[in-house]
């Protein structure tokens, strides 16, 4: 069974994994799901790091805008939760596909 997204063996998200791009790239039309997933993951990671840095800067006095820090943490939080939901849905879909008896 083909594994275009690289879920088998990973069991979840692993940014370090190298997914074979050729199989996915050979598909017609639709975006490369693996790449989309990976990009989103990196983006969320970056937003988390930015929010963390924002909090630290506020504590050390390097920035003074509380609202900016709050917005940064909220955005990072929302992005993470969305990614988590996306992963859960993908896992559910995978489980369903696994049930299909060929």
């Amino acid at each position: 069974m083909s594994d275009p997204v690289g879920l088998i063996g990973g069991g979840g998200l692993n940014p370090a994994r190298q997914v074979a791009p050729s199989a996915a790239g050979a598909r017609q039309g639709g975006p490369d799901f693996a790449r989309v997933l990976r990009d989103n993951l990196e983006q969320v990671n970056e937003m988390q790091a930015d929010a963390d840095q924002a909090v630290k800067d506020l504590m050390t006095g390097d920035r003074g805008d509380l609202e900016g820090v709050i917005l940064a943490t909220e955005k990072a939080d929302n992005a993470f939760r969305m990614l988590q939901q996306m992963r859960n849905k993908v896992m559910a879909a995978y489980e369903e596909i696994k049930q299909v008896r060929v």
């Binding site: 988390q48 790091a49 909090v55 504590m59």
Partner: protein, 146 residues
């Protein structure tokens, strides 16, 4: 990603700020209680000094890969925060400067003390809320099913 959140500087920085403001609250309450005491000199710890020391400690820890303890020692504040969360915070307040020229010492001390009190409570609240936020994000990451 989750590991970086738990060893991140954000949780440590807000925790140290909270404990600093909490300790400073005692110093400020002491000043206010002694508004009428003859010969009393109000004391305080420098917030800017603490912030600079916090910045230096975070940078130093960042240089170590974001791991290990945060250490602060700037003469007024001696604090440490280890990865296990146990740490210490000790404040040595010095004499607040610049008030000896005024005869009406009592008035200036009252306004300045109340302002410091309000600012300190504000700092505490900001740090507490941000700590809660980051801790909540960590918990959300932990609690969702794999």
């Amino acid at each position: 990603m989750m590991e970086s959140l738990s060893t991140s500087g954000g949780l440590a920085a807000t925790e140290l700020m909270m404990r600093f403001a909490g300790g400073r609250q005692r110093v400020l309450a002491h000043n206010i209680a002694n508004l009428s005491t003859p010969g009393f000199q109000p004391k305080d710890v420098s917030v800017e000094g603490f912030r600079a020391s916090l910045r230096a400690a975070l940078d130093e820890r960042g240089g170590r890969g974001g791991r290990g303890a945060l250490e602060i020692d700037n003469g007024e504040v001696v604090a440490s925060l280890s990865p296990s969360g146990v740490g210490r915070m000790r404040l040595e307040p010095g004499t607040a400067s610049g008030n000896i020229l005024f005869h009406d010492r009592n008035n200036r001390d009252l306004e300045r003390s109340m302002q410091s009190l309000a600012e300190n409570a504000g700092m505490y609240r900001v740090a507490a809320e941000l700590w809660r936020k980051q801790s909540g994000m960590l918990k959300a990451a932990i609690s969702e099913r794999v």
